[in-house]
Symmetry: C2
Subunit: 201 residues, 2 copies
């Protein structure tokens, strides 16, 4: 201890501090909370963590979170099996599912190219995707990586790779979001929206 | 799942979201991190949480975090046993210990009065403190609750209670912090520093 917290608590705070998005203060606050909760609450939390860690694996087809070999979206016979939407993360799958505007399948590349962070083409999980495209069952690919530097770079890389197969390639539309006012839109988005304008009539 | 994450993951996110300072986004980020780490890292973290929860209890004398009945500060024969510093939380003990300017004991009241949050005098842990003061071994009390509304209210309440015993009562000095410039100090702190001015010669 030496004037500090008991060692076991210090260790816990240090471990919590290493979790993403948790600084020293939040780690302390979390640790104190974990000390205070009832045995039952603690058991529930710990078991949930262990169980999720044990059960959830990437889907064998698309890399989305799944408790089975094949995720529920890939296993759903009602989905359009000729369209694949490529996203960076399982969170993106969830976000697109919430729109209820997409009936096809997904492919999660689990990240994006980032030269600054040393993520090169080798780190992207696209082997299963290309293998699948080579079988000719997929007719359309919608590239839905983030509209930021990494996502755009990844989109370019994917377009290059995928253009070798006989599929239509789309990029998710980038432009001014609904419910905003044009005077407040950042210049790069607004510029992109002008460049990517859609013909109306 | 129903277009969302697998249930076990959804449940984990919901549990993490209930932790203090964790919103939906951080909860997701934490959950995904916990899914990814190795079995060994997970075991370490979980065991640390369980062990800390099991071992750490409030000190029987002062309520500070302790792995024994009596915390290391209360058990230390070198500490001045006639002075008690009253603080709101174990974190405050740590902060004062770090200054190396205090050799006495502590008493942690585990909170502060807060009429808005329904914390009344009954919720403050001062029974053991008053009991100890009644034995006449303590000569000085330094009230070091926070210099905010709740802390000041609590200080007033403590002064009222403690003034019944034969002890000197101090309030930690409130004023302008070292290393700042007077022109940038907030008016209420600056005003308090003028009112509480110390005589020099």
């Amino acid at each position: 201890m030496s004037g500090g917290f008991p060692n076991i608590l210090e260790e816990l705070i240090e471990k919590l501090e290493k979790l993403p998005g948790i600084g020293r203060r939040s780690a302390q606050r979390l640790a104190f909370h974990l000390l205070k909760i009832s045995n039952k609450e603690l058991d529930n939390l710990v078991n949930n963590i262990i169980e999720a860690h044990r059960c959830i694996k990437p889907c064998n087809l698309c890399n989305n979170f799944s408790t089975n070999e094949i995720c529920q979206i890939c296993a759903n016979p009602k989905r359009d099996r000729e369209t694949i939407c490529i996203v960076e993360t399982p969170q993106d799958v969830l976000a697109i599912e919430k729109t209820a505007q997409y009936q096809g399948l997904y492919y999660v590349i689990l990240g994006a190219l980032s030269p600054l962070e040393g993520v090169g083409p080798g780190e992207l999980n696209i082997g299963k995707l290309l293998n699948r495209l080579s079988k000719g069952e997929i007719k359309e690919v919608i590239i839905s990586t983030d509209p930021d530097n990494e996502g755009e770079l990844t989109a370019q890389f994917l377009i290059e790779k995928i253009s070798k197969y006989k599929v239509k390639i789309y990029r998710i539309s980038i432009g001014i979001p609904l419910g905003t006012q044009i005077e407040y839109i950042d210049p790069s988005t607004l510029g992109k929206a002008i460049i990517d304008r859609r013909i109306v009539i």
